[in-house]
Symmetry: C2
Subunit: 332 residues, 2 copies
């Protein structure tokens, strides 16, 4: 059932997408596109905010991410896939919104604070990093998105966007901007194959949807399990065991999985058998995705992005016109 | 003699222009337009950064400032007069440049620091205010301006712009951006008619170029002189005497002015005689300007701004294309 609530979602093109994205967002988006008008943004300009000295990485991954989208089943007939840099109207909104949020509000933002700690900018935080929630407010409001699927850690960014919306509408006595609601997914993060943190390209501990069959197998057989589970007959730990974490996320027969966990904890179930099960599961999941991905040419992806960006820009242009009129900016 | 060095200059449209502007910049611009290709920007978006809750003030003054420009002799055949908000390419450059400057660099900027103190934002500095030097870098570089006439207090802002230029050209291995040189005018500020500070619209102590003859006279006869100079025969002070400050700026016969100062200091020259001299001087200066201003219709100003903005946008679009190519942003 189509509702008129608009969804905005997307990714920074800094690498191929991996199973963490699949579990955290992509799988959900494939469903969302049947229920809502969806805008899916490849956020290349946002990616530049901490990759400004490596634009090549961002550029090459724009097409790769698009291929990943199409491979998992995002359908350009159902959702608008576009590239952020193709919508210069977003920059104009960003500049207007910068006036509506204080520096201290941005500095207090828990998401930004946490990310600053991770990224070790030390004393040299780029201004573009501090202000990225303002740029996200531009992205969200340009398409009048009312639903934004995010992780729990991104909630404060949505809050900044909504504050800007309320402030704008109040100051300019208008209702052109629309508040957005965060859709926090139930499935959280997927652990890395090393068991140490969340799966992430920068930590090099992720299974990419574009990984060939043998690489996938190698990654699964190298997964961290329970270092004290040496012989098959030893009792093993399920908690912190990466193979079980992945089975939890991808193995559909939950009853059978519960039995396997019980058996593993008692002793008598070997890591190899478990890994083989996970390998079958993921090979089955990823083979059609990989095959589809391999059939998509760069030209196919370019065409999708060109058409999607054209459609997205039409909407953003309309919003900017309304925003300019609300502020009362003269037209020459 | 025309050189190819491009000049960028302009004003925030927050009120009519006054004699402080005339002495500090306008008089000079009228000369510059004969020597350099000049871009004169009415910075409405920048004006919004501390007038976002009063856009009406900014909007109405766009045309008023344009009329002031034309009245003092800026000639649209010689210089390009345009409106900042009509060049959305400036916002795009701003967003890219935000990545190339750190928050602490902006916070340490002496110009921004001084203005923050003046403006009493307290704890609520709008992000757009902190980042306005980045937006100025966008303005300067969009037109590849090499000369920017500024007051001494604005030098650190030009420095930020040049830092961004060098960083951009180095990171992206290009020379598309051009450094600018500050042209610091010899004539500094014009004191307010109350003698207390510089002439400024917000302090309500300025003589506007649009002031009618009787208002001008009233302002001159109300000027602060020397409170101890009561009788004509009393010796008077020249220093801090507003009438002499204005004669210094506008009375052309400097020799005669030196004699008058000597006479005033000895005693025997009354304030009324001096004010009458200043009144004649300024009435003569401002009458043709006022007459010309009154002959300019809103439509005339609109036409100048429309044509100028069209020309300016062509150049800015070209620069943005070069910038995108240097960063390596894909085109869809």
């Amino acid at each position: 059932m189509m509702t008129n609530k608009i969804v905005l979602t997307g990714d920074r093109p800094t690498g191929h997408l991996h199973l963490g994205h699949y579990v955290g967002s992509l799988r959900n988006r494939v469903k969302l596109q049947n229920e809502y008008p969806c805008f899916v943004m490849i956020a290349d300009v946002q990616a530049l905010s901490d990759n400004f000295d490596n634009p090549e990485k961002v550029r090459t991954n724009v097409l790769e991410v698009c291929k990943d989208y199409l491979a998992v089943g995002l359908d350009p007939e159902k959702c608008t896939i576009f590239v952020q840099s193709s919508i210069p109207e977003l920059f104009e909104l960003t500049v207007y919104y910068l006036n509506l949020v204080t520096v201290s509000r941005l500095e207090r933002n828990p998401t930004v604070k946490a990310e600053l700690q991770q990224k070790s900018f030390a004393d040299s935080v780029p201004a573009g990093f501090l202000t990225y929630p303002v740029s996200q407010a531009a992205d969200i409001t340009a398409f009048k998105a009312q639903l934004v699927p995010v992780g729990e850690d991104q909630l404060p960014v949505i809050e900044v966007s909504n504050e800007i919306v309320r402030r704008f509408n109040r100051i300019y006595n208008t209702d052109v901007l629309v508040e957005a609601e965060a859709m926090v997914g139930k499935v959280g993060r997927l652990v890395g194959i090393d068991g140490k943190a969340k799966a992430s390209k920068s930590l090099n501990n992720a299974i990419f949807m574009s990984d060939p069959s043998d690489v996938l197998k190698q990654k699964i057989y190298g997964m961290y399990t329970d270092p004290n589970h040496i012989k098959v007959s030893d009792p093993g730990k399920v908690e912190g065991n990466v193979v079980f974490a992945y089975l939890d996320a991808f193995y559909e027969n939950k009853e059978e999985l519960d039995d396997l966990k019980a058996q593993y904890q008692r002793g008598g179930l070997g890591d190899m058998a478990l890994k083989s099960l996970l390998n079958d599961t993921l090979q089955n999941l990823l083979k059609p995705i990989r095959d589809k991905r391999n059939s998509i040419t760069a030209d196919d992806a370019l065409e999708v992005l060109t058409e999607g960006s054209k459609q997205a820009r039409k909407i953003a242009t309309q919003t900017v016109e309304e925003v300019r009129e609300a502020i009362g900016i003269l037209k020459f």
